[in-house]
């Protein structure tokens, strides 16, 4: 991938991320977060994770951020301007972030894989496609796509999810249900007020 594009996307992600952390107006924060997530989604795609990139935009930048915005609007949360930020906390946050970043950077340099580029570990689509077609009796749509040299990301993802993580998917369903019920329980109005 073009170097410049990467840096642009990284800057987009981190820059808007910084906005989230620093902006005073919650709405600004929320919108910045959405933008940051868009950049992130682009980075996902740059890593050949098209499906994940897509749902990152759909779920995060879309649904989740809307929820945030909605709540902010609903509660009519004011700008933090009337209160000064907690200086100790700010300093603490900066120090933590700096130290953490340094630690992670130091360590990632020792990763043997770290200096590889995507082209170093190029995908071998056609080869896999051929093997699949001949050997394991896989889904023809996938092997065909592979043989054609395109990555059927969503299909492969789906295959993994349903074949390998079918049970987990259902647990996630249960989790979402619990979440839903939780939201209902937690935001129910008091009876007296309702009456």
């Amino acid at each position: 991938m073009p170097i410049l594009l990467f840096y642009f996307l990284a800057a987009l992600t981190l820059g808007f991320g910084l906005m989230v952390v620093t902006a005073r107006n919650p709405v600004t924060c929320a919108l910045s977060l959405a933008m940051s997530f868009v950049g992130l989604a682009a980075l996902f795609i740059s890593l050949d994770a098209y499906f994940i990139g897509t749902i990152q935009i759909l779920v995060y930048a879309g649904a989740v951020m809307v929820l945030f915005l909605f709540i902010i609007m609903l509660l009519d949360i004011q700008v933090e301007s009337d209160k000064k930020p907690n200086l100790a906390a700010v300093i603490g946050g900066i120090v933590l972030a700096a130290v953490l970043a340094v630690q992670v950077a130091t360590i990632s340099s020792s990763l043997s894989l770290g200096d590889k580029t995507t082209s170093d570990v190029a995908l071998t689509l056609q080869k896999v496609g051929t093997e699949m077609a001949t050997g394991k009796g896989n889904l023809p749509t996938i092997s065909n796509d592979l043989k054609a040299g395109t990555l059927p990301d969503a299909k492969l993802m789906g295959l993994t999810l349903f074949k390998q993580y079918g049970f987990h998917l259902q647990v996630i369903g249960l989790l979402l249900l619990v979440g839903t019920v939780g939201v209902v329980v937690l935001s129910k109005r008091e009876k007296e007020v309702a009456r």
Binding site: L14, V121, L123
Partner: protein, 105 residues
């Protein structure tokens, strides 16, 4: 060229940024946003690694499945979390961290 390290450093920076926000901000909703940012940073790491740990010439989809679950879980968490925050706002008329400092010692 763009190496894995680039991605890891970006994700690390994003994670650190999120952490800084969590620690520094006083508005609980924004804290929550920063938490989501950290989770996403983790996702980026996972995805980057999944691309570089190929399985039979393809990205490692089990790691991507984990990312998928993370995103979903995050969504559910956001829903519950915002509900709690709303409840907090209703009872305290505030979503600042100072509203929750009664339990201590």
């Amino acid at each position: 060229m763009i190496t894995l390290n680039h991605y890891l450093i970006v994700s690390g920076a994003l994670f650190a940024l999120g952490l800084a926000g969590v620690v520094a901000r006083r508005n609980i909703i924004i804290i929550y946003m920063c938490l989501e940012m950290m989770l996403s940073a983790a996702n980026l790491t996972l995805v980057a690694f999944s691309r570089f740990h190929m399985v039979e010439g393809l990205p490692d989809y089990s790691a991507q499945a984990l990312v998928f679950f993370t995103i979903t879980v995050a969504a559910a968490e956001v829903a519950v979390g915002l509900a709690i925050i709303v409840a907090l706002f209703r009872s305290k008329q505030s979503v600042e961290v100072e509203a929750v400092s009664k339990l201590q010692g």
